[in-house]
Subunit: 170 residues, 2 copies
């Protein structure tokens, strides 16, 4: 799926579909396309907006080179210091293998540290370093700027409605 906005010739799912053979010939080559079935798929539109939002996030956070997944991990470590990799990974649905590599990178930047957990020596307790705490302050500021752009993109009321809808689903 992808990201283009369907043209105006929308057809709601459930309405009759023109057969392929009955397509009118294109008057010009710049004709808008028929998105057909796609207009009835929630996933298509979700994906479209999600890509646009992440794209802005990545661009806005580019000065600090922080990606959405890294941001979510830093926020969770900051708000829940001392928790294990498995706890953070499960909460964010990040594979432990992938999280291990990501934390290695965040450790290389000296934003986080792993300490031996006293109760279970298999697991690592995660903390922000002082450097990481300072970086996160700047990151939060850029992330807030991103979210302000989302208000402009989506509209304040629509964003709040969307937030409520998405939060409460499932």
């Amino acid at each position: 799926m992808a990201i283009a906005k369907p043209a105006n010739n929308q057809r709601r799912s459930g309405e009759p579909r023109r057969s392929a053979g009955s397509q009118l010939p294109d008057a010009g080559q710049g004709q808008a396309l028929d998105f057909d079935e796609l207009n009835g798929h929630i996933g298509y539109f979700l994906r479209r907006l999600q890509v646009a939002v992440f794209s802005n996030f990545i661009r806005t956070l580019a000065p600090l080179d922080v990606r959405p997944a890294q941001y979510s991990v830093l926020i969770l470590i900051s708000a829940n210091p001392g928790r294990s990799q498995s706890a953070i990974g499960q909460a964010l649905n990040i594979e432990r293998a992938r999280l291990a590599r990501m934390l290695h990178e965040l450790e290389r930047r000296e934003w986080i540290e792993r300490r031996a957990a006293p109760d279970d020596r298999r697991s690592h307790s995660l903390f922000l370093t002082e450097t990481g705490t300072k970086a996160l302050a700047r990151i939060r500021s850029l992330a807030a700027r991103h979210e302000e752009r989302m208000v402009e993109l989506i509209g304040r009321d629509r964003r709040l409605l969307l937030l409520d809808l998405l939060r409460e689903f499932g």
Copy 2:
């Protein structure tokens, strides 16, 4: 970003945030995590739902081994026969390089064919083959089943509201 559902200790964006140091010690290790800032990010929730929806799509279409992007391309070719690769790619925001590979795969399955465009010999006109048309009928049926599951997951009214919101944004 990722996909877990935040626990109940939500904090709206704009409300004061507990500092990391003031976290209560964990009574047990199964404690719910504080998602903090993430609760105010539309992108976080969008991503969460989008991943869940695509995951169901992929599982539902697995018998025919069709992924979301392939589905969207097949639908667009079916509804707009004879259009060029660049037209389809721009409409769906798929890189021409990636679309070329995807079409190669769809051609290998004998679902689509490329014919020389009479007016511009650089471009290829795309069509479903007869095999592709038959396959798409089955694909549509599974995709419809997927969308029914989405109604169950999201709720009928919420899905319609979401569809309208997402469709009209931008």
